[in-house]
């Protein structure tokens, strides 16, 4: 016999209180990264011989800046979700695991902010 209420079972929120959010966000960012990463790779091919001035001019166009910001946000969100699972799978000591997870989450956020700032600085 379960002590859980029907609504708690429907919501699917176990002790982690997370439900399917992790899974859903991983898919959502993956879908976003399909066109964004293809765009990025094609752009890098086109910029293969570009110098500083040419890359700056390219980055400063509104379309590039917006797509690059979207790429940065989706990449670092997706990255920290994936590495979180790697840490949870392989690091078993609770303390070490927690330190790694906090470092990962804060580090990914900081890197994402740094990358976004760099794009905006070139764009404005």
């Amino acid at each position: 016999m379960t002590m859980r209420t029907p609504i708690s079972r429907v919501r699917g929120l176990g002790s982690a209180k997370g439900g399917t959010h992790h899974w859903w966000m991983q898919r959502l960012t993956a879908i976003a990264l399909v066109p964004l990463s293809i765009w990025f790779v094609i752009s890098m091919i086109c910029l293969a011989s570009a110098d500083y001035a040419a890359v700056s001019a390219w980055m400063a166009t509104p379309l590039t800046a917006v797509l690059m910001l979207l790429l940065v946000v989706a990449t670092f969100y997706h990255m920290q979700l994936g590495l979180q699972v790697v840490i949870e799978d392989y690091i078993h000591g609770e303390g070490t695991k927690m330190v790694c997870l906090i470092g990962l989450k804060l580090g990914s956020f900081a890197l994402g902010v740094a990358a976004a700032f760099a794009v905006l600085k070139v764009a404005f």
């Binding site: 399909v34 091919i45 011989s49 990358a115």
Partner: protein
Amino acid sequence: MNTGNRPLSPHIQVYRWQWTMMLSITHRATGIALAVGALLLVCWLLALASGPAAFADVHGFLGSWLGRLLLFGWTWSLMYHLANGIRHLFWDMGVGLELQAAQASAYAVIVLSIAATLAIWVAGYMAAGALG
């Protein structure tokens, strides 16, 4: 809480080696490699924002043999993770989960990721005028 006596699922060495297993492991490995590559993306963007001197330093490293080797590895990791990621998204829709289909898409991911990587580098060198 005592967690010592819980049953464990069979570990990896119990299973016969299969392509689908290899691809799953490689998906995780390329994901970790791409996380390291994301650091390079941040360096590249920060260098661009810092000015010509910093940008020249980063480009100098990327143009070296080590830099090109790393970029080549990251290109393949990205193509693999992209192709296999799309395979995963089809699985999420319930498509291609049968053994034969999963096997066929595994081969397709390997071939596509290698072909795309080579095409990208040929295109890159052509765009740079290095191949005439």
